[in-house]
């Protein structure tokens, strides 16, 4: 029992560090990819291929002046970015990063907590995410920040609905709310995306909206709201907001990969004839490749599509995505009843 507790603590630290490092290098990847899409090279001066750029950015943010508006609510002003960061990191707890490792008589699952309501947990955590933004925007005492925060709140709440509806179809198929079970059921190539293409589409679009990424970056809206909810933030508090966006992207990509693309499963998993532990390690690498692809997709879309107008955003969320998701649920139910496995 003791070794399990030690193992879990170690796993938590590893995953925490991993999310931070991946988010760190996602900022570099974003800038590099943006450069490549725009026929430029992107940052390549700090270290080879610009690999030290995130470090330079971090140092720069730490040494920036810690500015706080005179009329800001001091407590909430600090709480905002802290909460955003905390919630962004919480989501990784239930994601199964791989199958189990068997060493001796001990079985080590590569998942921090196999909660039997894993999907619900992730949902609950992402819903709180709006508080960090709302608190930050409100406490800044600035109209642009407040407008950004209000936009963020209404946008995230609207798109959460459609996201939840898309998830219900998955839960109906798998009959479980545990992420471990959902992933385990997608063995080999039986990925949910083949059975739930509409649900997948709705989920991905909503994931874009939930992480405030283009074309749904209205809370930030640099050209209209001069940065939206983090207008008044500077130094590492701003860094926390920007950083948590990339962590959110990482967790969202992991969720998309787990729910629709089979998580650590890959085709011909049984034909390889490898031992269980090796399969787990390969599966984990496959999962990270999938996550990498979806993070690339996030960036690819960002540097392709322009921002929605606000009324278009609301209309799209409520009049297109939500009905589509509900129709998907009904269709899933009907087909499931007709062709019971």
């Amino acid at each position: 029992m003791d070794i399990q507790i030690l193992y879990k603590s170690g796993l938590i630290i590893v995953i925490l560090l991993l999310s931070l490092v991946i988010a760190m290098y996602a900022t570099l990847a974003e800038r590099k990819i943006a450069g490549f899409f725009q026929d430029r090279l992107g940052p390549n001066r700090a270290g080879i291929f610009g690999l030290l750029q995130p470090v330079a950015d971090g140092v720069k943010l730490f040494f920036k002046e810690e500015f706080m508006p005179a009329t800001a609510d001091k407590f909430l002003y600090i709480l905002g970015p802290s909460l955003t960061m905390l919630i962004a990191l919480l989501g990784s707890a239930v994601i199964p990063w791989g199958n189990t490792l068997t060493i001796g008589n001990n079985v080590f699952p590569l998942q921090v907590a196999d909660v039997n309501i894993g999907v619900l947990y992730v949902f609950a955590v992402t819903s709180i995410g709006v508080y960090g933004i709302m608190i930050g925007g409100w406490s800044s005492n600035n109209k642009y920040a407040l407008m950004g925060a209000v936009r963020a709140a209404s946008q995230m709440i609207s798109y959460e609905l459609a996201m939840g509806m898309a998830l219900i179809a998955i839960v109906m198929m798998s009959g479980s709310l545990s992420l471990h079970d959902i992933v385990a059921q997608q063995h080999g190539i039986h990925w949910n995306v083949w059975y739930q293409p509409i649900g997948f589409f709705v989920f991905v679009v909503c994931a874009f909206a939930e992480t405030n990424r283009t074309p749904f970056d209205l809370p930030e809206c640099d050209s209209e709201l001069i940065g939206g909810y983090h207008t008044e933030y500077s130094s590492m508090k701003l860094g926390f907001y920007l950083f948590s966006e990339y962590i959110n992207m990482f967790i969202s990509s992991a969720m998309i990969a787990s729910l629709y693309f089979g998580g650590y499963n890959f085709p011909f998993i049984n034909e390889l004839g490898m031992s269980h532990n090796w399969l787990t390690i390969v599966g984990m690498l496959v999962l990270f490749a999938k996550i990498g692809f979806f993070m690339f997709l996030f960036m690819w879309v960002r540097w392709t599509l322009p921002r929605f107008r606000y009324d278009q955003l609301m209309r799209f969320g409520w009049k297109v995505l939500l009905p589509l998701a509900i129709v998907n649920i009904v269709a899933t139910g009907v087909i499931y009843e007709l062709f019971k496995k």
Binding site: F37, D39, R40, V301
Partner: protein, 195 residues
């Protein structure tokens, strides 16, 4: 209706904007989005336009007008006689100088009896037109293909003789700008500056 067809088209890519009702497929926006993503992806793999400046320099013309140089003659003496024609001809009023009389002991340093004790060009005012070079009767100032490097303080852009004067041991080649036409122009007595 046909009047549009007579318009000159430069690229053949222009499209007449219309507010017609979108078809179902168009109203989904997805085909357009995938098309757009294909376009950006094709740019991902194209050759980048970036020139890695300090390591790679973009090729410039032989007679590029960049940073100035104050030339020395064959014996290493400064050619400038501080006549002030360059300052007079300068449309940006970037050049200032203080003249001084040459002492007997300085004959090996300065070619003419008068020389520029201080010679300054404000590189932020300079428009690199090359008029100073045309005006100079002593072939003392030339524009070269060197770039003016960036500075962090405004004052550093006022270049004195320490920067402008060509080093004795490393002469700067300006032969590309000394074409026969240029030399003929300099000796043309009908021009105002040679009268």
């Amino acid at each position: 209706m046909n009047q549009d067809s007579t318009k000159i088209s430069l690229t053949n890519r222009s499209k007449v904007v219309s507010n017609k009702k979108m078809s179902f497929l168009e109203s989904l926006y997805l085909p357009a989005i995938f098309k757009g993503m294909f376009v950006t992806m094709s740019h991902f793999f194209t050759k980048k336009a970036t020139v890695q400046y300090p390591e790679v320099k973009r090729p410039v013309s032989d007679i590029y007008r960049g940073m100035h140089v104050l030339k020395r003659d064959e014996e290493g003496r400064e050619r400038c006689t501080a006549c002030g024609l360059c300052a007079l001809s300068c449309p940006a009023e970037a050049i200032t100088m203080i003249a001084k009389e040459r002492l007997e002991s300085e004959k090996h340093l300065y070619r003419e009896e008068k020389y520029a004790a201080v010679y300054e060009i404000n590189m932020l005012r300079c428009i690199y037109c090359g008029d100073c070079e045309s005006a100079c009767p002593k072939e003392a100032i030339f524009l070269t293909d060197r770039f003016v490097p960036s500075e962090v303080a405004r004052g550093n852009f006022i270049y004195g003789k320490d920067v402008l004067l060509e080093p004795k041991d490393a002469p700067i080649d300006v032969s590309k700008r000394q074409t026969p036409e240029v030399l003929a122009f300099k000796k043309d007595k009908t021009q105002l500056h040679n009268k």
